[in-house]
Symmetry: C2
Subunit: 198 residues, 2 copies
């Protein structure tokens, strides 16, 4: 990076820290930003800062949202007795896009992974158990079908089953090893319809 | 984008304006940023703002740099009588990486393109002609081998030749239609060595 001046090198370095951005892409982004108008640059930087400042966890389902409680948890049109457990807000958005799920969610923010040192206490699992004290009829586990996602599903199922609440897992239909958010809506719906007891 | 809150949607939107970033990548970047520490976010935003504020054109060769004059133009170890004309600072960096070019540069910031409405006055061509009043022996035209780059090379060559200064063009060796910055250093060096008079 000696070929660029200090500020340009630093900008390229910052961009290359982002996921999926290699060294060439980072250079391309950096020079694109330098060619943007001052207003566009201020918008970009301001949006990043504001998002970080204003986005927080919903106090009920822990999705990322601007308010204390997210619109789904606040809605009285949703069935609050059915909770779908997902790994991330992006997975929640993937199911919302189908427009056919009427229950609420619980966002774990990760999955149990002994190799990465992520245990049950590192995800929002305690908070899920707290919610089950209310009037909950079913917990649908929609973690990814990766090794970590499956392990997390099994762990949660074993934890909840003694309470008598129905626990289900979205059907295989979601390809094994795939990330939930990249799957088409039809497959997501089929997986929801074909869910099996655990 | 209704599936995300206002601040998250805006962040995704800003990222998807960047080149090479599609809607899925923008979502991935947005959630990555939201999961970064406050310090990391401040660094990213600060670096963007600082780069835009501090990076300017070198008053001699018009490359993007932090100072009034770039290190190459300031250096007395470089041969200031040989000027390589490139389209962008990234192309300059590509030749600097070879470590074997000892002349100086002139960055046009674009190429002549009638279809995009970019004429000779929209790139730093006038500024190049100004520089030729000094002690210049050779101008090496290293614009991309795209249609626009070739047209620009021809235009510059016709403009300079009457003055008696030698004008050369980097050899074909650079694949036609390719972007200079993505080519390996060996090919770049071969193109430099095999340059022909225009």
């Amino acid at each position: 990076m000696d070929y660029y001046s200090k500020h340009i090198s630093k900008l390229i370095e910052e961009f290359s820290k982002l996921p999926g951005i290699g060294s060439k892409s980072a250079q391309r982004l950096a020079f694109h930003v330098l060619n943007m108008t001052q207003e566009q640059v201020d918008n970009l930087a301001g949006t990043i800062i504001n998002a970080k400042k204003n986005v927080k966890y919903c106090k009920c389902c822990f999705t990322l949202t601007d308010e204390d409680m997210c619109p789904i948890c606040k809605s009285d049109k949703r069935d609050h007795s059915v909770i779908m457990v997902v790994e991330s807000t992006r997975d929640l958005a993937a199911y919302e896009k189908t427009g056919r799920y009427n229950g609420v969610y619980h966002v774990l923010h990760g999955a149990i992974s002994p190799t990465l040192g992520i245990g049950p206490n590192d995800i929002k699992l305690k908070e899920l158990i707290e919610r089950l004290r209310g009037d909950v009829k079913e917990v649908i586990i929609s973690t990814n079908s990766s090794v970590e996602g499956e392990a997390t599903a099994l762990y949660i199922s074993k934890l909840i089953k003694p309470s008598g609440i129905k626990v289900s897992r979205i059907a295989s239909g979601v390809p094994v090893g795939g990330d939930l958010e990249y799957i088409d809506e039809i497959t997501l719906l089929r997986a929801l319809e074909g869910r099996t007891d655990m």
